[in-house]
Symmetry: C2
Subunit: 169 residues, 2 copies
């Protein structure tokens, strides 16, 4: 199972404003939607899931098989969606559906929990030409450290880029 962390963020590593706003450009949204439509499944945290529901995002990304990671008892409102309590359990659910790769799609707490357990293989970061002085960081503070290997740089627009890394384990 190839586990891909895919996030849109500012130049200083913020994946949202403090109020959860994600004012990314159309080019970034398009890159993200294409990736999800291609992989056809994703794992997200409960808050990210609810923001996606509020933004009516699931139809746009062709209703991928979605695992919502949550510590609570939580009933998803969208079709093709299940819940899990732990990262390994979420991966198992994706695997049982026959997928060979999956997307870890935020937020910072979820990303951090997969990183801490050494479960992520590759990282795609779409970098919006913005800085936020504060906000939600790519990783909620946690004890891990990895070296990466740059696999590619792609321009998404005049000022936005996509960085693609493999994690060295």
């Amino acid at each position: 199972m190839k586990v891909i962390l895919y996030m849109e963020m500012t130049v200083n590593g913020m994946v949202a404003k403090s109020n959860d706003e994600t004012p990314w450009s159309d080019e970034l949204w398009k890159a993200y939607q294409e990736m999800v439509k291609n992989v056809k499944n994703m794992i997200v945290g409960r808050k990210t899931y609810q923001l996606m529901v509020e933004a009516d995002e699931f139809a746009t990304i062709d209703n991928p098989f979605t695992v919502v990671l949550t510590s609570q008892n939580f009933v998803p409102q969208t079709k093709n969606t299940v819940t899990a309590h732990f990262p390994q359990e979420a991966l198992k659910l994706v695997e049982e559906k026959g997928f060979t790769e999956t997307i870890i799609g935020g937020g910072g707490k979820l990303n951090s929990s997969f990183m801490r357990e050494g479960l992520v293989d590759e990282i795609y970061l779409d970098i919006e030409p913005m800085v936020f002085g504060q906000g939600i960081a790519l990783f909620e503070a946690n004890e891990f450290e990895y070296g990466l290997k740059l696999l590619g740089i792609k321009k998404l627009s005049d000022s936005s880029i996509q960085l693609h890394y493999a994690i060295e384990k």
Copy 2:
């Protein structure tokens, strides 16, 4: 006066580990040293200054004119070095020496204070192929937000890159 923020950081925007370690590659140090030698002056925070003194860094970068921003009474140990209490005061000291550009060189608190006051014109970020789950962020949390314009991407080694942005004000 062109004010350039120049930092080395991880892919997730950490400029040091929590214990102040900066395990960057030779390529990144070289890029940074060349920039400082070229501009011949820099503005740094007190903690960054002291870490630079401990690492015996000033001789390597040809003893640039250095302004240490500090809220305390602090006597610098290196030649060609003065102190200031506020960002505008630091810029005035650099200007009085006849410089037309300066480097803002960390840490996160200093960077953030110049950004909040709208004093930074360009940002260079040398991105090491690493992620730290926690550490010292590029900007200490503060209320500001800017759009940027990508001026250039340069590869510093197989896996490290330099991003160059202008700040839109």
